[in-house]
């Protein structure tokens, strides 16, 4: 019975916790290995904007005490661990006194929303095209058409975004140039707002989809060709099953398994993969936040967003690991 055993679940959760712990440690070490320190950077920024700052040393010392930077490294490490696990990333340096977790909480829904629309679209279109490209019974014209749609695959998504903005927003004025929704609107559940949201979302989604689905198409096509040669495909034909049933229940069903694994890895793009596209469309997601925090050396925000991205990746991998045995019954038995 599609084996999701307790043993398997425990193993996966332990691996998940280990991954998160190791990455927190790396974030901690990298921050401490980097030259300079955030307090000096913050004070330097303040002095740059306000002219002279009095009692600089006292301020720095005060903040160091406040952030616990005078504690021994192991103590700092334990505090850091606790803070990250409770999503306490400290104040943002550029949006001071706003807390980093508030910024992330505000940005995350936009990124996830964008990703939740984009990724299923990419996965669906990519695999559908890949399956049709490899299927023996696909009509010839369709087989000739599909490769032509894949010429954008080698483009960076930013470039596709810029081209789309130029052609569809700037020249043809079909879509707005930037922003997640119309200027001056307040987020609400009205038809007006939602249609504006969709209208603004089409170009970012399209530029992400068009550069990515070709990867899935090629992967799926390769797997379909491999599956085609399997003995069970021959037997399915010999049984006189309807061709379309053989396609989806025998060929696609088996060919898609590695694609689902790849989807787990691709899930992290829900948060991190659209940084530049978000930036050029001025979308309010985590990508834009990472982009601005790196540009402004906002250490706390960089740490916070890195942690969120890593956590997101680890959670997506865990979820896929738990779903996978239901799709491929052979998985959970390995390593028991």
């Amino acid at each position: 019975m599609g084996g999701l055993t307790l043993n398997y679940i425990i193993r996966r959760v332990v691996i998940f916790l280990l991954t998160v712990w190791v990455s927190i440690t790396i974030i901690f070490l990298v921050a401490r290995l980097a030259p300079g320190d955030p307090i000096s950077a913050m004070v330097a920024q303040a002095s740059a904007s306000m002219g002279v700052v009095e009692n600089q040393d006292a301020i720095i010392e005060g903040w160091k005490e406040y952030f616990g930077l005078n504690d021994p490294i192991p103590v700092q490490y334990v505090k850091f661990l606790g803070n990250l696990l409770t999503f306490n990333f400290g104040p943002s340096l550029i949006a001071f006194p706003a807390q980093v977790n508030e910024l992330i909480a505000r940005a995350l829904p936009w990124s996830i929303g964008l990703g939740l629309v984009t990724l299923p679209l990419i996965f669906f279109i990519g695999n559908l095209f890949g399956a049709l490209l490899a299927w023996r019974r696909t009509p010839g014209p369709l087989k000739a058409f599909i490769p032509m749609t894949m010429i954008f695959t080698s483009l960076p998504s930013v470039l596709a975004g810029l081209v789309f903005i130029f052609v569809f927003a700037f020249r043809m004025k079909l879509f707005p140039i930037s922003g997640p929704f119309g200027r001056g609107m307040q987020p609400s559940f009205t038809i007006e707002f939602i249609s504006s949201l969709i209208h603004h979302g089409i170009l970012p989604v399209a530029s992400l989809v068009i550069v990515s689905f070709g990867f899935w198409t090629l992967g799926m096509r390769g797997m379909m060709v491999t599956t085609e040669g399997e003995d069970y495909m021959t037997l399915a034909d010999a049984k006189g099953l309807p061709p379309f049933y053989v396609l989806y229940r025998y060929q696609v069903r088996n060919a898609i398994l590695p694609q689902v694994t790849a989807l787990a890895i691709a899930l992290r793009t829900l948060v991190a993969g659209q940084i530049l596209v978000e930036a050029i469309f001025s979308y309010r997601g985590i990508g834009t936040l990472i982009y601005t925090s790196i540009r402004n050396q906002d250490y706390n925000t960089i740490q916070g967003t890195s942690f969120v991205v890593i956590l997101f990746t680890a959670v997506s991998v865990l979820v896929i690991d738990l779903i996978y045995p239901l799709i491929d019954p052979r998985i959970s038995l390995e390593g028991n």
Partner: protein, 345 residues
């Protein structure tokens, strides 16, 4: 020659499958590989025909040609296959799909991955049933599958299992159950027992024979295990390089093989009492893309004559139910003048 008993003649029953001049080629950049070079044979009602030959002789390709399952770059070049009065080779796909499994079934090498790893065992049997008989009551289908399991000796618990949870022998039984699910007229068993160890092989082979007799189906068994063939089949067809060289009842071919290839093949069967050299390695094989004119076996034949180099011997019925393709014999089955078939040892 001894008189053929009348009862033996009566055993020739209705032909269920007639194969005429079947040719299957595989396309390669340097020319077509002629895998099956025009073969003719009949399968009689209730009979088991063994198709034997070494690897690459085209026996599996011939079977897949009959089933129209030859995958590109292979293709059926010409030939006619008639099953119960229906011509199969030129039949369109959707009509042939109706024939598949209801009249012409395949028992593959089930120990390999002939079963879909993502489907439960019962579903892989019921999808064939439902494809040909339409949607059915779940409980009735379940009863039917369990009855098939009983016939092939599978326990009920297999019903809900996945293929990877079964042993090789069990998978093979599932394939047999699947093959007979719709009571086909002809079953083709393609090396069905090759990947199993000898004990399981014997049990599975007996199961296959028992089921075949219970249902009265005709069967073509493909294999290279002459010992197993001797116990299982009524007639043997020996294939060499895409051609049938000898077709005869199983006792006859073991006692008095007539074609030089069959002779070395049977002489090479090892026994416990004595070691025997493998005769068949002598001589070289030809390029399958470009067979020499004349007899297909001329390069390896110990009795090759001038005539063999230019003229291909047709498959002739020399004795009752004993067909041979060789120039060494006259039409009445006697050796031609001057030929000596000294014991080749």
């Amino acid at each position: 020659m001894a008189e053929i008993p009348a009862e033996q003649v009566q055993r020739r029953r209705r032909k269920v499958l007639e194969v005429r001049n079947l040719r299957v080629h595989y396309e390669t950049p340097t020319g077509d590989v002629i895998a099956v070079a025009g073969i003719d044979f009949d399968l009689y009602d209730g009979e088991t025909l063994g198709l034997v030959g070494e690897s690459g002789s085209g026996k599996s390709t011939a079977a897949y040609g009959i089933l129209k399952l030859v995958q590109p770059p292979g293709r059926i070049v010409e030939g006619d296959v008639t099953l119960d009065g229906d011509e199969l080779v030129h039949m369109n796909d959707s009509s042939f799909r109706q024939i598949r499994w209801t009249k012409l079934a395949l028992i593959p090498q089930g120990a390999m991955n002939s079963l879909n790893p993502t489907m439960r065992v019962h579903r892989q049997i019921t999808d064939a049933i439902e494809a040909h008989e339409g949607k059915q009551d779940k409980e009735a289908l379940r009863e039917r599958v369990l009855e098939l399991f009983r016939m092939v000796g599978l326990p009920q618990r297999v019903y809900n299992m996945f293929p990877h949870e079964l042993s090789g022998g069990m998978k093979q039984r599932v394939c047999i159950a699947m093959g007979i699910a719709l009571h086909p007229t002809v079953v083709i068993a393609d090396e069905s027992t090759s990947a199993l160890d000898v004990v399981v092989q014997r049990v599975v082979a007996q199961t296959m024979l028992r089921v075949k007799q219970a249902l009265g189906v005709s069967m073509i068994m493909i294999g290279h295990d002459m010992g197993l063939m001797a116990q299982m089949v009524d007639r043997i067809a020996v294939m060499y390089a895409g051609k049938l060289v000898e077709v005869a009842p199983v006792e006859t071919i073991f006692d008095e093989p007539m074609h030089p290839y069959s002779q070395v093949l049977i002489e090479s069967i090892p026994s416990l009492k004595e070691r025997k050299p493998l005769k068949i390695t002598e001589g070289i094989t030809h390029d399958p893309r470009n067979p020499p004119p004349g007899c297909i076996f001329q390069l390896r034949c110990p009795h090759v004559m001038e005539r063999c180099r230019s003229e291909a011997p047709p498959l002739r019925e020399l004795l009752m139910r004993h067909e041979v393709a060789c120039h060494l014999y006259n039409d009445d089955g006697s050796l031609i003048e001057g030929a000596k078939l000294e014991a080749a040892s």
